[in-house]
């Protein structure tokens, strides 16, 4: 079996920043595993601007922001980037098994950084009743279909939740000629950044309902509409406030969950509510030498913050390897 100094899982803004930082802090053997066919993670489908303001003091799109890191990674031969590499097993002593087209590899990591990002909460997790027709998407999937694949998921849209991806997709759908009929938020304030509310919703005159929830989704084959109602301060539906909105598409933007199934498998302590590793210090976990960074550690508002904190994970990994005495 092959042993590597440092293995990093995920080549998004977190994993790439961690890899570069680990190298700059003296680690000379880094394996960076990415399940997609390109590095960059979710940045690739974020074609809007707003990235890099903190980190580069410039306004960049997601792919531009990713490109800065990808260039650096490619210039460092000590970082081996392995694409289409899908980790399926992880043990407490940092043994990783990953699938690639054509083979399965097992590698032992002396030190491990997990930069696996997060996934979107689904309709099922917020318990929206009604039917299950086509036309129900997570905001991120809709973004991928439009921006990467050139497909328009729907023409009359209701967005559930005011997370950043949902807000950004409100603008995106409008620019694509679709009609965004409402954004429905159960809380009394937005979950996303204020700038996204202004630039993506208010500026386009899209109705934004606070203290409202989707009660039911209608439609047999394709979504035909949703029913909406006001909620009280205990999130309970207020009777008599219900109304219906006709639409062919429902977008969910109701929160993100750190994707930590692998470290859970390895026995790392996970907070059941947030799915974050239980930890007193950023990037550290209950297993020595196993670090978690970026959105897998906690859900950040900005990619810039992900990169920054992930650099710290790279440093921690370098320190750990020095301590156990075989770095470099």
């Amino acid at each position: 079996m092959i042993e590597r100094e440092l293995v990093i899982v995920g080549a998004g803004p977190g994993g790439m920043a961690a890899a570069i930082s680990a190298y700059e802090n003296g680690v000379r053997d880094i394996l960076l595993l990415e399940r997609d066919q390109y590095p960059g993670g979710i940045l690739n489908q974020c074609i809007h601007t707003g990235f890099g303001l903190d980190y580069f003091k410039e306004i960049l799109t997601g792919p531009e922001y990713a490109e800065r890191f990808i260039k650096k990674i490619k210039a460092i031969p000590e970082i081996e980037l392995s694409l289409r590499s899908f980790v399926t097993l992880l043990t407490g002593d940092k043994l990783l098994t990953y699938f690639k087209p054509g083979r399965i590899e097992t590698v032992k990591a002396r030190c491990l950084i997990m930069a696996t990002g997060c996934r979107e909460k689904t309709r099922e997790m917020v318990h929206i009743g009604g039917t299950r027709p086509s036309g129900i998407f997570s905001a991120g999937l809709a973004q991928k279909l439009i921006n990467i694949d050139g497909l328009l998921p729907g023409e009359e849209i209701v967005i559930v939740g005011s997370g950043d991806i949902g807000l950004i997709m409100a603008r995106r759908f409008t620019l694509e000629g679709a009609k965004v009929k409402a954004v429905i938020e159960i809380q009394d304030k937005t979950r996303g950044l204020l700038r996204n509310v202004v630039q993506c919703v208010t500026d386009f005159d899209i109705p934004l309902y606070f203290n409202h929830k989707i009660v039911k989704i209608f439609g047999k084959d394709r979504v035909t509409g949703v029913s909406v109602a006001r909620v009280d301060s205990d999130m309970r539906e207020v009777t008599g406030t219900g109304f219906k909105i006709d639409c062919d598409t429902v977008l969910l933007s109701v929160g993100l969950i750190p994707e930590n199934e692998l470290i859970e498998m390895a026995g790392v302590r996970i907070d059941k509510k947030t799915n974050c590793p239980v930890s007193d210090e950023t990037n550290k976990t209950s297993v020595p030498g196993l670090f978690v960074c970026g959105n897998a550690f906690m859900v950040y508002d900005l990619a810039d913050s992900v990169s920054k904190d992930s650099e710290a994970a790279g440093r921690l990994a370098a320190e750990y390897l020095k301590k156990i005495g075989r770095a470099g």
């Binding site: 996934r119 279909l145 328009l152």
Partner: protein, 476 residues
């Protein structure tokens, strides 16, 4: 025009089982299904339990066929390479009164021929089902209960029937039937003719029967809402956990599906609309409360998916009969629970009815009883997975992250007949995990489009009217 010996209407587990059984004989068989794929009606939302035969009234037809079916399913699953796991079930008593009823249930089941029943006490339960509520006093243990994937069973039965000559027509909805010299079935795809006609139309069996003037039964859909939990909770229970049954249902159960997800449900609601597959807040609350009474560890946040199914109920028993008023016409209706279990026994019974009504059943020289097991990467040990990838690199190309489904499994499923996103889900489990297809939908659509030649914008979730996306911008 071809005249079939037998036409079966409805490609759920009942129609598929009958077609496979009949494909042993020298007969021309056609199966007509109104949906775009098989198993898209009642069978797709079945829980997958192979019942032992308990909870059926003594002397009932469904009780008798259930006990037989439980035995027959084992051989069929071996022949077809469908995973059948004999996990056993517990009917749990929480009060002294319920405890007394366990003895009655045992006696009733034994009179139907259910084997190896045993009443177990709370000490046994504590040891064997540690997550069961401490308030459980005793249980009726039926070790012969099992679990199977209902849709994969239908697909594999049909595939085997087709290999033995049966013809399948999808998106072929019967709109009118006449009995002249032959049965003449007008459908959305033209007229089909046959000497014998079997109605296995599930929820719509009464509508089909009415087309031939037989309207003495009505199918009342009884809705069941089911809630699936994350696979992480796989070890919640070891066996299928039932409460004491009521008159109309077996109650809210805690089971583990064939794919390893715990599932809680179903509700039992008599409704009118045969298309009403909606789930409700009340349904969820009801199921959660009842399930937590048995397994307190269950948490609402563990739910990753839910759906509703409709049981095609007509009274309290199955209706399986030759209609003497219309010779050659056999109704197989009201096949609610335990229909999945009973299906192979129903198929034998239908063969018998056909024989009695004048059809000659002559065995084919060669009946191919076995099919090669479909490969599911997530069930294979690492060593086997390595060998598979060596043989075909597509097995190493993971498409669905939550359920570990490879590109090769997707293309295989399409080769075996999947045409829609739901068809892929049922066959491979891609999109069935915790992210609900957020990750793999785009890739699956592409593979489906490339393999079938259907443009991306016309890929559907489950056939007509259910397109995933509405426009391809590159067409503009």
């Amino acid at each position: 025009m071809k005249i079939y010996d037998i036409i079966i209407i409805g490609a759920g587990v009942v129609g598929a089982s009958i077609s496979r059984e009949l494909s042993r004989y020298k007969l021309d068989i056609a199966l007509l299904e109104k949906e775009i794929e098989l198993a898209f009606g009642v069978s797709k939302s079945n829980s997958g339990i192979i019942h032992p035969g308990t909870q059926n009234p003594p002397g009932s037809l469904k009780g008798k066929l259930c006990v037989q079916g439980n035995i027959l399913t084992r051989q069929i699953s071996r022949e077809l390479g469908v995973d059948f796991k004999e996990v056993g079930e517990l009917i749990v008593a929480f009060t002294e009164e319920e405890k007394l009823r366990l003895r009655e249930l045992k006696k009733e089941a034994e009179s139907l021929g259910v084997p190896r029943l045993e009443i177990v006490d709370s000490a046994w339960l504590g040891k064997n089902e540690p997550n069961l509520s401490k308030e459980a006093l005793a249980a009726l243990y039926a070790p012969t209960a099992g679990i199977i994937s209902p849709y994969r069973l239908v697909y594999d039965l049909s595939e085997n029937a087709a290999r033995n000559g049966a013809e399948f027509f999808t998106e072929t909805e019967a709109t009118a039937i006449e009995k002249k010299e032959y049965f003449e079935i007008s459908t959305s795809k033209g007229v089909f003719r046959s000497r014998f006609l079997i109605n296995a139309a599930g929820l719509f069996a009464d509508d089909i029967s009415r087309m031939l003037g037989i309207d003495d039964f009505k199918i009342t859909p009884r809705k069941g809402q089911e809630f699936l939990l994350d696979k992480k909770k796989e070890h919640l229970t070891n066996r299928l956990i039932f409460p004491l049954p009521t008159k109309t249902s077996k109650g809210v159960l805690v089971i583990k599906t064939a794919d390893g997800n715990p599932m809680i449900g179903p509700t039992a609601e008599d409704i009118e609309d045969k298309d009403d597959l909606s789930t409700t807040d009340e349904g969820l609350k009801n199921v959660l409360t009842r399930a937590r009474k048995m397994i307190p560890l269950i948490d609402g946040s563990d739910i990753i998916a839910y759906f509703a199914g409709l049981r095609p109920a007509s009274g309290n028993d199955f209706i399986i009969r030759h209609e003497d008023k219309t010779p050659g016409f056999i109704n197989v209706a009201g096949i609610q629970s335990p229909g999945l279990t009973a299906a192979p026994a129903i198929a034998l019974m239908v063969c018998d009815l056909l024989k009695k009504s004048g059809l000659t059943l002559k065995k084919k020289l060669i009946f191919r009883s076995h099919r090669k097991k479909t490969i599911h990467l997530f069930t294979e040990p690492l060593k086997k997975a390595k060998a598979l990838i060596k043989k075909d690199p597509g097995y190493g190309d993971i498409v669905c992250r939550c359920e570990q489904v490879s590109a090769k499994e997707i293309t295989d499923a399409i080769d075996r007949g999947a045409k829609t996103m739901d068809g892929l889900k049922f066959r491979t489990r891609a999109q069935a995990g915790r992210c609900h297809g957020s990750f793999c939908t785009a890739r699956l659509m592409k593979i489906l489009s490339e393999k079938t030649g259907v443009p991306l914008k016309d890929i559907t979730k489950r056939g007509k009217g259910s397109r995933i996306v509405l426009k391809d911008r590159r067409d503009d």
